[in-house]
């Protein structure tokens, strides 16, 4: 079933929408949740909760890209779960590394940023990614959106883990320089 048909099922409040979404995107969503949580039980709960959230938000929303829409919900839920677990020192083998890498781009400090700042910063990162060659953009998104391990990215690209690490380091530095130049850090 294609995404438009699936979205129509959501809009018609047809419960098959969830089973169809699960059949097509279950693996995709579980992958994101597992990358973040490294715990199958937690990941499954987050994915199921994501379907419920999708059910509650479509309608009124009508996502253009269903996979990214579901993926984003799973990512948010899983990261919230990670933060709960992290305070109890559990789970998320990859996330602490990813967060430390992100701190190389934006200094990790307590500060109050308003919604306008966040929106502008997001747009700035979006534009930075637009300007990157496709493979570099892929590397960045797999690492910092999908939370893939470096090894897993290297396998997908047929490259060594070391070269992926070096490339990611360069991209982080470029992004940090870009944000500094624009006055965000």
């Amino acid at each position: 079933m294609n995404d438009q048909e699936m979205i129509r099922l959501f809009w018609e409040r047809n419960e098959n929408a969830i089973s169809e979404a699960s059949a097509k995107y279950g693996h995709y969503c579980s992958g994101i949740a597992m990358n973040i949580l490294n715990n199958r039980e937690d990941a499954e709960e987050c994915v199921n909760e994501a379907y419920l959230q999708a059910w509650n938000s479509i309608p009124p929303q009508k996502p253009k890209i269903l996979s990214a829409f579901l993926g984003r919900i799973v990512r948010n839920l899983s990261f919230n779960r990670y933060k709960q677990r992290h305070s109890a020192k559990r789970g998320g083998h990859e996330i602490p590394l990813i967060l430390d890498e992100l701190a190389e781009i934006i200094p990790d400090r307590n500060s109050v940023e308003d919604e306008v700042f966040r929106r502008e910063l997001k747009q700035c990162v979006d534009r930075f990614l637009d300007a990157l060659p496709e493979e570099k953009r892929y590397l960045f998104l797999r690492r910092y959106w999908y939370s893939d391990s470096v090894t897993s990215i290297a396998e997908k690209l047929g490259r060594s883990a070391d070269s992926v690490s070096v490339e990611l380091h360069r991209i982080r530095k470029r992004l940090r320089d870009d944000l500094a130049e624009r006055g965000y850090i």
């Binding site: 996979s67 992100l102 959106w145």
Partner: protein
């Protein structure tokens, strides 16, 4: 900003990019480059042997890595789903269209989606790389080594500027860039738009 907040902020990135990152990009294969280089070398050798190129009054310097794609015939080119970027509701959106991979068709589709009139023309598209040409001392054999950096040069008629009054310039040009650099399987290292 806390690193956790930055991680969450990245979660809001453009859905189109997230979708595109579901699959690894198709990398320009080395053997394709070698194939292109070999074809270029063969063509150049033929031209040099025939003594045509050296005597052609308007011959450009040998830049065999550059391809003027604007003259390609759409009927000769494979069609595929091409992402056309356009402005809608103050943001850049994109939609797939099944088109021959010819710049003029893709540009025409981009114009249509952005409400740009026919008076605006695509004057040329050229891919340049950092490869080099080598000709043997007796000029009988030429070889081109394809580089590893690719820059896309797009030439558009200057009257595109007349649309800046009603369409935000930066976003319009960004949508053009995304459209023109996106359909090819080459990961461009640079992009250059010339309005003339």
């Amino acid at each position: 900003m806390k690193k956790e907040d930055f991680y969450e902020l990245l979660g809001e990135l453009d859905a189109g990019k997230i979708k595109a990152a579901e699959k690894p990009p198709v990398r320009p294969l080395k053997r394709n480059r070698i194939g292109i280089a070999a074809a270029c070398a063969a063509c150049l050798a033929l031209i040099l042997t025939a003594g045509i190129a050296l005597h052609h009054r308007n011959a450009k310097p040998s830049v065999s890595s550059a391809a003027d794609m604007s003259s390609e015939d759409a009927s000769d080119v494979e069609s595929k789903d091409v992402e056309i970027y356009y402005l809608s509701g103050g943001e850049i959106r994109h939609e797939s269209e099944f088109l021959p991979c010819v710049p003029k068709n893709i540009f025409a589709s981009w114009k249509k989606k952005n409400g740009i009139g026919d008076e605006v023309e695509l004057l040329g598209v050229k891919i340049e790389d950092n490869g080099r040409d080598a000709v043997s001392p007796d000029s009988s054999v030429a070889a081109h080594t394809t580089g590893d950096k690719f820059v896309l040069h797009v030439r558009v008629s200057e009257n595109l500027k007349s649309y800046y009054a009603k369409i935000p310039e930066e976003m319009l040009l960004e949508s053009l860039k995304l459209t023109m650099t996106g359909y090819s399987e080459i990961a461009f290292d640079g992009y250059d738009l010339i309005l003339e």
